[in-house]
């Protein structure tokens, strides 16, 4: 697991070498956004730790409170370019940390946040 500290007011750090966790986090409120690189991309459905974050209105920003432990962030993305659509998942914070790349090939993703 990475020992890097989040920058500024950022809470999440991607841990690409960790086989169990996608991100290391400090507990507390966090906002994420999905940015389009090819076409448009939105969060269609989001659940964090079993709680629904996005259900009826697709959005490009989500907020939730990270709790201690290993938790799941389940996301269904929707793409306007269903073949080549690409984007990135970033934290809304001073460093606007790039957390993951997202792709129309893989609209359903489960991330693990370790806190």
């Amino acid at each position: 697991m990475s020992n890097a500290d989040p920058a500024g007011n950022c809470r999440l750090v991607p841990t690409p070498a960790d086989p169990n966790c996608d991100f290391r986090a400090t507990p507390g409120s966090v906002s994420l956004e999905v940015k389009a690189l090819t076409g448009s991309v939105l969060f269609l459905k989001v659940k964090y730790n079993g709680t629904t974050i996005v259900d009826t209105t697709p959005t490009d920003k989500i907020s939730f409170v990270i709790v201690p432990g290993m938790t799941n962030l389940d996301v269904i993305y929707v793409f306007s370019d269903t073949t080549n659509g690409k984007g990135s998942l970033n934290e809304v914070c001073s460093a606007n940390t790039l957390l993951k790349n997202v792709s129309a090939d893989n609209p359903a993703v489960q991330y693990v946040i370790c806190s």
């Binding site: 086989p19 996608d22 009826t56 389940d74 269904i76 929707v78 609209p107 489960q110």
Partner: protein, 548 residues
Amino acid sequence: MKKILLISSFLLMGQISLCVLARSANCETLLKQITDASDATARTAAISTLVRLGNNPVCFAEIVDNSPAGERGAYAVFLKYLELHRTDKQAGSSVGTGGTTNLVSKGVTAKALSVAAEYGALTQSVSNQIVTVQGSLDGFPAAFIRQGLFPYCLPDNANHSACTEERVLSFLRRISYGISFDTSQNSQAISGTASETQQGTTQPVTFTPNGHQISSITGRYILWNARDATSEAFKTKWKSALSTSAGTPSPMLLENAGDSLMSSLISLVPPASNELFNDWSTRAAQALSGARNEDVISQWDDCARQLVELLTTGISTYHCGAPPETFSKDKIAKYTDPKLPEHAMAFLQALSEYRYEEDAFVADIADKPVLTFEYNNNRPLGQSSLSTFRLIFDKGIGKNWSVTANGAFTTYDAQPPASIPGANRLRDSQLGVQVNRSLGTLAFLGAATVSGTYYFQYQNSPAILNVTPSMPLSGITLTGIPGDATQVFAQKGNLQVAQLKLALGAGQSNVRFPIAFSYSNRTELIAKPEWRAQFGITYDFDSLFAGN
């Protein structure tokens, strides 16, 4: 998904066979990233991405699906599928009961039509006393995809032997049909003709039905389709349509598919708290890190097989790095799921349906028919059958304006009698132009559109009515007609109509109310100017069915 195909094959051919499938294409891509990694850091990151299976659940689902457990699971799913899709159960009341919609009590029934009806292949509009049922041909395969009978092709499934491709659906979407039914009470009449000589006060009669319920049949083919799936205007409209549940197109089918995909994702991928899965991820990453590039694939195969066995039974004969951690019976019961193969199949099917809805939603916004050919076989009550051949041009101008132009000619299906002056097969030719302006969403009234239309008809041959003196046409009184006359005809003359129409949508509902006023210099039968007002109602059933 392949198992669903297997099931479909069984249903179609009456036989079943289990097949051994190749390694998942999705996993292959991730494995290639490991062997192609430029340095140790990139290689470690690629390995972690592979073993964190929630990052790529398609790879995980295909691992499970391709395993021996997956084959057994397919058979279990197949049996469940058969039970769920039994059609030897009567739906609704039986024939002979007062309120039934069934003409016969069934043993088994065709599924395709009810699937299509239940899942929005059809839209209906009511005009006067004519009910028109219409839809596009892609509605039928779409219904099959939504039912899981046929999978929708995913981008990477080139190795799949059969699936419904987007380009096939795109072609079928160009072809549409419509059937109009005359539902007016007088459209179903019975005429009686004396068949024998009168016997006292009784008279034997032969009855002839005159149902005439199908009043027209229409087929359309889009010759030229303009597609804009990249502009900023498209993206704005796509985002707006996604946020408006009662808009057009409705996002509800996509929303529902997203719900199914989310549920199946959560059922498939072990949660972060699954220690058995986390132990495997750690060991698999170590085993792959220690493997030479040429051994990565074989090592991965062993690890993947071990994972499926561990998650379904808690024990495995395969090797993946260090031996698995020993868990208590309680933990094994907690962390294993014998239904994992079923979850994998459900996920792949949900993904297939989601990808279809995603594509269909984009196509509804991006694809605009510009030039369409239409054939209409019209069988109006009391008139000879007519065939109309029409070209339809439709083009948007700017944000709120659009122009629609029609050019058409109509022929009689049979040569009119030579006794009618000027009559020939070419009945008329037509030209119509309509300019539409969207008024946006008005308070209390919802979406509104105003349009102005001009229509010109060159009447090459007079309109002909078929008459039966013993059975007068509804709404038409003929006097001074000889008893043996079978056809009457009107005066020729060019017809011009102008119309102003306001179409209102009621709030968030799918009901639309067109209100129109029109002026014509004459009609086909009446050579006098006429003012008319029309009021209609339309309903889009698609979102209603999506809501179910």
